[in-house]
């Protein structure tokens, strides 16, 4: 566990859907939560809670393929995204639920949520009751897995349909007393109408997002899609740092317009990402791909980083951040047209690569040019043509020197 000595007393614990979490960091339903022994190690490392990998009833056949994962590399980063065609847990539900009881006995302060999936009303209600009886603090219903399950009328096939979502959410809510979270899919144009029906059904909150449906690539020698299961594949669920913007958008949408508690998940790597999810309206933050990549103990950096940040901000609880970023989120129409910025370059920091010149010339409005030989030492420092610069901000994104390019308010 992390020892943090702080000037002003920061308390990382949060209350979410009526349940107290020792901190807002929760292991998402995925391979890191497939076994009680693994979750126990996660709790030892400092995770506030865990969502047990999705369970189905005994008769549900879980027939896995291999390989089921493939990563996306980009430049020097070897896992900016991960695609999987894994399925729900293939473990025996009785064994898994027995471990839930053990976990609650050994870690009474940590929150155990069980993710589950079923087909009929009777099945949904049966599994929900069994999860409750096992001692779980909360239930998470997966209406969102984008591969495999939808072909059988489950997973995201439910979460893409507001009526199916409402019906099933209500089945579960009616069957149990513990809070129910509904995990929704981002593979929809707008999550809000669906989330509204979840609220109407009486669920305690929404978990969003599940993975983004994607196709990670092809093998250029064999032409086989990836991950290649004997030269064949299928679209899968895409996760990791690459999907964070998609996740933040859905969290903010739901938190702002549906006003229901949200468990945010999707692409969290550092405590800074987690703060963004809180600002977008998430009450807790779930993490999966980063844990798979680096191990449970990265939670130390999430907890300590968040605590020190709160201390710096003069705050005492992560709950003070929840939804704080939503005020500034408005329609495009509502954005100011009076506020104008123009590109600015720090001459001392510029190394003269011209990346911004190319970007502006071919991807912008030809407002940047090298000053040329007459400028002597500053020959390769670009000059901004204020007339041509429309203030798009793209140059800032391509500059390799941190802090060299910025957008300054226009003075005229």
């Amino acid at each position: 566990m992390v020892r943090v000595d702080l000037k002003k007393k920061v308390d990382l614990s949060v209350k979410f859907c009526g349940v107290r979490f020792p901190n807002p960091f929760v292991l998402a339903a995925a391979p890191p939560t497939d076994k009680g022994e693994m979750i126990a190690r996660g709790f030892e490392a400092g995770w506030g809670g865990a969502v047990v990998k999705t369970l189905g009833l005994e008769h549900v056949e879980v027939n896995l393929v291999s390989p089921m994962m493939a990563g996306l590399s980009y430049e020097d980063k070897n896992l900016i995204g991960l695609e999987n065609i894994d399925l729900i847990s293939d473990r025996d539900i009785n064994e898994a639920l027995a471990e839930v009881g053990d976990l609650k006995r050994d870690y009474p302060d940590n929150v155990v949520i069980v993710s589950m999936m079923a087909a009929t009303e009777a099945e949904w209600q049966e599994i929900a009751r069994r999860v409750q009886d096992a001692g779980a603090d909360m239930i998470e219903c997966s209406f969102s897995c984008p591969h495999g399950m939808p072909e059988r009328g489950m997973g995201s096939a439910v979460g893409q349909d507001a009526d199916l979502t409402f019906e099933r959410a209500k089945w579960v809510v009616d069957a149990v007393d513990i809070p129910v979270l509904i995990k929704l899919t981002p593979n929809v144009a707008d999550m809000r109408p669906i989330a509204a029906r979840v609220k109407e059904a009486g669920a305690a909150g929404i978990t969003c997002i599940n993975t983004v449906k994607g196709l990670i690539g092809f093998d250029l020698d064999t032409f086989a899609p990836l991950p290649s299961v004997n030269e064949q594949s299928t679209a899968g669920g895409y996760s990791g740092p690459a999907i964070k913007p998609i996740a933040l958008r859905f969290v903010a949408d739901v938190a702002k317009d549906v006003q229901i508690p949200v468990a945010g998940v999707g692409g969290v790597v550092t405590w800074k990402d987690a703060v963004e999810f809180l600002l977008a309206g998430a009450g807790i933050v779930q993490v999966c791909t980063t844990v798979m990549r680096y191990g449970y103990d990265i939670v130390e950096e999430l907890n300590e980083g968040l605590a020190l940040y709160l201390e710096d901000k003069g705050l005492t609880s992560p709950m003070e951040l929840v939804g704080k970023g939503l005020v500034g989120l408005v329609s495009h129409e509502a954005l100011s047209r009076e506020y104008k910025v123009v590109s600015a370059i720090d001459e001392d920091l510029c190394i003269g690569c011209g990346a911004c010149v190319i970007a502006c010339r071919d991807g912008g409005h030809q407002a940047l040019e090298f000053r040329g030989e007459d400028a002597g030492e500053l020959a390769r420092v670009p000059e901004v043509d204020d007339e041509k610069c429309i203030g798009c901000g793209f140059c800032v994104s391509v500059c390799p020197v941190n802090g060299c390019m910025s957008m300054a308010p226009r003075e005229d």
């Binding site: 000595d5 550092t270 405590w271 680096y294 990265i298 130390e300 999430l302 300590e304 980083g305 941190n402």
Partner: protein
């Protein structure tokens, strides 16, 4: 340009200038650059870098903290293991310790752990580093002899554990080798000041200019334990003909004088005798003092030089001439002043045994160098003996390596006065270990007393 020094050394005349530039700007990595470097870390399982640190810093964990943007957490973590983080980041030979073990080196180049540690240490520079959580105050008082790396580490750790500490330092300033030995161009004094200030804030009482030698008397006068960390302050001399000439220096005295701000006149041509870090420091210092040519003569071959490889390479790139595998014959004088140096090539009678008595002269390899000054840097020995404390024939104090306790109960020793001369980081580590030994000793005494009092009361 801010990024200039990151881009290779083409436009640099050398290390000293680089260090000067860095000290002036106070700049190491920017946060952005630090994250980029830390994200190269493979975050290995059972990371081998951990095994390389004498001070027990959890390298993988602090690099991970930087990697995930938890900078202040990184600074805290290092300081928890090593209270003198800022100094260690600058004088520790990481390239032969943690960085040598770095797995990333098998792929391309090791993580710049030294640079990242400096980055983490500097986060606290100029701000008041938070004090460690201290144990409840205890009645016992410990005397620490010497305010160098070993003594300071012991004092800091003892304060952290709640003991009262008084430091007795022979010199009139704190720091020991940090302020009197290592030249300012290799260790920015601001970092030393900041660390000394930190120790001060921990609440240790310091007595400067007080040379306490009678440890038995200290134990009788109210101290419950003593830690000896006085280092090595008797410079060895060779006994060469001509050693009494004007212009002959011993390196330790010269470096101490320069550290005090003096500018001794060495003239234009300086010969340094020795092959260790002090010899390299002396040679570079001679250059700083205006010598146009500096020759360094060592018994050891180039590959056998005991100085850190990085320091040797810097000295070489700075134009210092190496005459390895040679031994001094005499210092030549004119009108009572140094005018030259004579040496002769040697080979080892028994390979690998790097001591003067094993050197065999090679006839016909005699050479002569013009010189205005000669600096002897062949090592330092123990200045004083401590009555009742067992030492070897060189005066080095014998200890139990686990607790650092000496032959006298309640008296502990750490640092060069035990090892005979090692790195500052090893002295830090031993000082810390001695503090743990003291704590165990005093805890045992406390429980023993309590038990006997209890027994007596019944």
């Amino acid at each position: 340009m801010a990024w200039g020094w990151m881009q290779g050394a083409d436009d640099m005349t050398g290390y000293a200038q680089k260090v000067e530039e860095l000290s002036e700007s106070g700049r190491t990595y920017s946060p952005h650059e630090a994250v980029l470097e830390a994200s190269r870390c493979l975050m290995c399982d059972e990371a081998p870098c951990l095994d390389g640190c004498p001070a027990g810093v959890d390298v993988r964990r602090f690099v991970r903290k930087i990697r995930f943007g938890n900078f202040r957490g990184a600074a805290r973590l290092i300081r928890e293991a090593n209270l003198l983080v800022g100094i260690c980041g600058r004088v520790c030979p990481q390239e032969i310790l943690c960085m040598e073990n770095c797995t990333r080196g098998n792929l391309d180049t090791p993580i710049d752990i030294a640079g990242l540690q400096r980055f983490a240490g500097d986060i606290e520079l100029g701000t008041l580093a938070p004090l460690p959580v201290r144990a409840e105050g205890r009645g016992e008082k410990v005397a620490v002899l010497g305010a160098g790396p070993a003594g300071l580490a012991a004092a800091a750790e003892l304060r952290k554990l709640g003991f009262g500490v008084e430091i007795f330092e022979r010199a009139d300033s704190m720091g020991g080798v940090l302020t009197q030995g290592i030249p300012p161009f290799r260790l920015d004094r601001r970092f030393v000041e900041s660390e000394l200030d930190y120790i001060g804030r921990l609440g240790a009482d310091v007595h400067l200019g007080r040379d306490e030698k009678d440890v038995a008397a200290l134990l009788k006068s109210g101290f419950d334990a003593v830690v000896i960390g006085v280092g090595l302050y008797r410079p060895y001399t060779i006994g060469l003909p001509g050693e009494d000439l004007e212009g002959v220096f011993v390196a330790a005295d010269l470096l101490a004088a320069v550290a005090r701000g003096e500018q001794p006149d060495l003239g234009k041509r300086v010969v340094v005798i020795g092959g260790g870090n002090v010899a390299i420091d002396a040679a570079m210092t001679a250059q700083h003092l205006g010598a146009e040519r500096v020759d360094l003569c060592s018994l050891e071959s180039y590959d056998e030089l005991p100085a850190f490889r990085s320091e040797v390479e810097i000295a070489q790139s700075e134009g210092i001439e190496f005459h390895t595998q040679t031994k001094p014959v005499k210092i030549v004088g004119t009108d009572g002043k140094v005018s030259g140096y004579e040496g002769v090539g040697i080979r080892w009678k028994t390979p690998g045994l790097l001591v003067p008595s094993n050197a065999e002269e090679i006839p016909g390899t005699e050479f002569r160098l013009a010189a205005t000054a000669v600096i002897e840097a062949i090592g330092q020995g123990v200045l004083d003996c401590y009555e009742g404390v067992d030492a070897d024939e060189r005066g080095l104090i014998r200890v139990d390596q686990e607790t650092m306790v000496t032959s006298m109960p309640g008296v502990f020793a750490a640092g060069d006065v035990v090892s005979g001369g090692a790195t500052a980081v090893q002295a830090f580590a031993e000082g810390k270990r001695a503090a743990t030994g003291v704590a165990a000793y005093l805890n045992e005494a406390a429980t023993g007393d309590a038990a006997s009092t209890e027994g007596g009361g019944r």
